[in-house]
Amino acid sequence: MESKLIILIVVILGTIALAQLMRVYELSTKLRKSGEHEVSNRDNILNARLMLGFMLFQFIGFIYLMLKYGWTGRGDAASIEGIETDWLLNLNFVVIIIIFFFTNFLLFYFSFKYVRKPGVKAFYYPHNNKLEMLWTVVPAVVLAVIIILGLKSWNKITGMSGSEAERIELFSKQFDWTARYAGPDNVLGKFDYKLTTDNNELALLTTNTIDTAIQVMMKGPNGIAAIQKILNNRDTVINDSTMNSLRIDLSRKERLLRLLVQMKAHHDSKLDKFAWDDIIQKDTLYLCKGKPYEFNFRAKDVLHSAYFPHFRAQINTVPGLTTRTKFTPTMTTEEMRVKMKDPKFNYILLCNKICGGAHYKMKMIIVVKSKADYKAWMSQKSTQNFKSKYFPAPMAAVAAMADTTLKK
């Protein structure tokens, strides 16, 4: 509290001091009899020189920052698409840096040179069609080149992947990423968010997961049965607002249950196999050098954005919509470490769309392996696919869980 008081006193005293200085200044100008609307030649020239000085500050500052920090921030691009992006980015930078220097120079140089001089009248020059045409056409031509090159690149980057590309899904939620490899068949299993349960966090669609979801919805810890039990229990007293929210909860869950039952009725069990061989991978995403990847993205709760700074790739993840992007890594993590002269360097997947308090911590390390290493890792990993890991004996487990809840 004391420090606040001191700050307050300093502010007030400072203001009063400034006001007194102003009075002194005003009295002195009154003595000199110059109005506050007239700029003396001395002051005018001082400001003109400061213009030139500022230009130097601006240019030297820019060159210093460019030399010191230039591209070092994230290193060279590590994907085929990223290399093309960087090439185009550099080209654009050359163009805009030239414009930046040229126009800022003219601006500040003119400000300096054409400062008011006694006896010199300004040159009356209201327009010149040729000049105006010049600076309409030249920018238009430069921009045409930029647009054409940009769109060529854009079409390539956003184009469809071929069948040889490995399919990976990245699932985002507050505040982490989960990867799902498509497995040996290279087809990602289908999904529906309503199928989310404890042992099916990614909501994959199979006959068993539908059954599980129905069971959980009906008899799970917060399922319909549990809510009904509370509502129908005459021994406990519930206040109106709790009662109301329980009822809303109940009707929402009944609606979801009806949809699940419909889903079961229409489900084609031939789709199951696409999901069973999928491989779920947390914490670290492993990729293979030289292999094209097709990524699908999903979001569980709010918008996120998958940002791969080193591969120059980025796409938002959207609840209710699958988005996609693709790239082909060109350097293994080891090779990049050597190049960056940093033995601890890692590729990264960051969240780049505000998604809640811990947004800044949401990330996934990416490791790019050589072909042999990747193959070894994958063959070991594929024994723990979705089915063997989460549904070794599915229905028995579900029945047991449902039983325990009902007994509660």
Binding site: E36, D43, N44, M51, V115, K121, A122, E132, L303, I354
Partner: protein, 602 residues
């Protein structure tokens, strides 16, 4: 008094029987455009100060993350900065409200609200706005929305925290972040009221410009300020309702259980039944306003600076017709470029390529404007009033921030830097700094008209040099933070320690530099505030036409009167840029002077 405001053209108007207005009708519920303009200005300056303070608070966190700061605990207390360390949620709250206030309350309400009100009737030769009452209403809507927005900073769950773009589902789900509870509700209601006020104001400006021009004031004799305000008002009328509808749909998703923006969501362990909505719909609606908004902010600043540069270069603005054409072209194009904010949202890539094309087209009229400014300075006779300095500063920031827009508008390149600090640096320079510089230029230039007194010039110079050095000191290094791949809206960059320490060190070095410059620039504004308020009461009395300017506002008496001109309305005979015209003895010919025999109009 009301009858005075609605004097038609050509009538003789005598104000000999001048009524003394009551305090309330003169200062509070005033229907005089000059007073309303000043009300907008003071309110907006206050809002701007608050937003600047918020930015200093989060800049301290970014430069010295996790370090206890007395400054933070002084302003945020134990709730939001326990032990002087900022809370994660509040960091996002500060960023969100900083952006919202700066874009809408300072640069829309403050810039267009202030100067459209003061200058449109004065420069057109009108007694007042078309409707004084609606004009008053527009200010009061603005004030109420300002108070609601400020109020949201003080509630228990905190202000809106979803960024100034308030993308749902984050902004729709209180389970996702605490600020999406009452804070978001207040944000939405505040903005709804703001939009209503802005619409009323804009309609009034348009009607006034079209109908209340004095005799001889053809559209092509209007100062460029008026052209800028006019197009700005049209942009506002066409685009703000779309934001209102976006906000209303969001309010319904939040309060009425609809699913416009929500689909397939599980949040806080709860499976929502909403299905079929799309968050991308919101982004389309938001940016349909959001992009024209950039020009709603920028055009008035460009208009003001055109006027100020011509006056203080003692030269006609170069290419008057081309300037009007550029304003119209920018206004039109601004409606068909919104998708460039959405290249990586999952929008169809083909649609993205259309937006690349339209966006880069905007660079052409912008380039025309820049070169016209440069040619206006060429062979001028420059007088560096504080207003002139800020106008030149505006041209510089418009260039520097504009060129990086070329990169961001190119979808293939945008992927690599979208939502990084590169973007933050870009729009702060091109839109934030340019508009703020335009606003300062306007305040310094028209202060004598607003308050009948002069501001102190030396303090103005000090203010300018601190501000421009501070501005570049903040936003130049910020580009490089972005090029290092640092995402915006990160509470800190500690996670970089785990994968790239060099990057981390670089980001931290630059963040410290940025914060120091930001604090210097913020302190520089104290000079302005002092000068502004001191001069209102104690500044030397202003002469009628302190800058030897040609436009009509300088033909009104220094003492304000309701109705602007004591006698008949002035009649206009020429364009507003007859500076240093050959054959004339003085270096400016006011618009009211008839053409001499054999004199050609420009």
């Amino acid at each position: 008094m009301a009858s005075v405001a609605h004097e038609g053209h050509g009538h003789d108007h005598h104000d000999d029987h001048h009524h003394e207005e009551g305090f309330v009708s003169k200062y509070i519920f005033s229907q005089d455009h000059k007073m309303i303009g000043k009300q907008f200005l003071i309110t907006a300056v206050f809002m701007g100060l608050v937003a600047m303070m918020l930015s200093i608070l989060f800049r301290i966190q970014l430069a010295w993350p996790g370090e206890s700061s007395d400054f933070l605990s002084f302003f945020l207390g134990n709730r939001w900065a326990p032990e002087g360390i900022l809370k994660e949620d509040m960091y996002l709250g500060l960023v969100t409200i900083h952006g919202t206030i700066m874009v809408f309350f300072l640069l829309t309400g403050g810039l267009s609200g202030t100067f459209s009100n003061i200058l449109i009737p004065l420069q057109l030769g009108a007694r007042d706005m078309a409707s004084g009452f609606l004009n008053m209403l527009s200010y009061w809507f603005f004030l109420i929305s300002s108070l609601l927005m400020l109020g949201s900073l003080f509630i228990e769950t905190g202000p809106a925290m979803a960024g100034w773009t308030i993308y749902p589902p984050l902004s729709a789900l209180p389970q996702a972040i605490s600020g999406s509870g009452l804070g978001m509700t207040l944000w939405l209601f505040s903005m709804a009221i703001f939009i209503a006020g802005s619409l009323i104001g804009s309609l009034n400006y348009i009607v006034t410009v079209l109908n209340l021009r004095t005799q001889g004031m053809t559209m092509t004799r209007m100062p460029l300020t008026i052209w800028a305000f006019f197009v700005t008002a049209i942009l506002g009328v066409l685009s703000f309702p779309v934001l209102l509808s976006a906000a209303l749909l969001l309010i319904m998703d939040r309060l009425a259980g609809t699913s416009f923006y929500l689909s397939d969501i599980i949040v806080g362990g709860e499976m929502l039944a909403n299905h079929g909505g799309s968050p991308i719909l919101f982004q389309h609606l938001f940016w349909f306003l959001g992009h024209p908004e950039v020009y709603i902010v920028l055009l008035p600043a460009l208009g003001l600076s055109s006027e100020i540069i011509a006056t203080n270069a003692r030269k006609p603005i170069f290419g008057y017709k081309a300037m009007i054409g550029s304003i119209l072209a920018i206004g039109f194009l601004s409606f068909i470029v919104w998708g460039h904010h959405m290249f990586v949202t999952g929008m169809n890539p083909f649609l993205g390529s259309v937006f690349v094309f339209t966006t880069l087209l905007i660079a052409i009229p912008s380039a025309v404007k820049v070169f016209n400014y440069l040619t206006t300075l060429w062979k001028g006779s420059l007088i560096f009033t504080p207003a002139m300095l800020f106008a030149i500063g505006l041209v510089s920031t418009f260039i520097t921030g504009g060129v990086t827009g070329i990169i961001l508008a190119d979808s293939a390149l945008d992927i690599a830097i979208h939502d990084t600090y590169f973007v933050v640096a870009h729009f702060h320079i091109v839109m934030g700094m340019s508009a703020v510089f335009g606003m300062f230029a306007g305040v310094y230039h028209w202060f004598p008209k607003m308050y009948g007194r002069m501001m102190n010039m030396r303090l103005g110079w000090v203010h300018f040099w601190i501000t421009i050095v501070g501005a570049y000191g903040v936003f130049f290094p910020m580009h490089f933070v972005g090029l290092a791949g640092a995402p915006r809206r990160y509470y800190d960059y500690s996670s970089y320690m785990e994968f790239n320490e060099n990057s981390y060190n670089m980001i931290m070095d630059l963040n410290v530099i940025i914060t120091i410059f930001a604090i210097i620039a913020a302190l520089g504004q104290v000079v302005f505030l002092f000068n502004f308020f001191y001069s209102i009461y104690r500044g030397p009395k202003a002469p009628q036409n302190p800058w030897n300017s040609t436009t009509l506002e300088w033909t009104t008496p220094v003492e304000h009167l309701h109705g602007n001109w004591p006698g008949a309305l002035p009649v206009v005979h020429r364009w507003p840029y007859d500076y240093s015209k050959p054959g004339s003895d003085v270096d400016f010919i006011p618009q009211t002077v008839p053409l001499a025999d054999g004199e050609e109009e420009h």
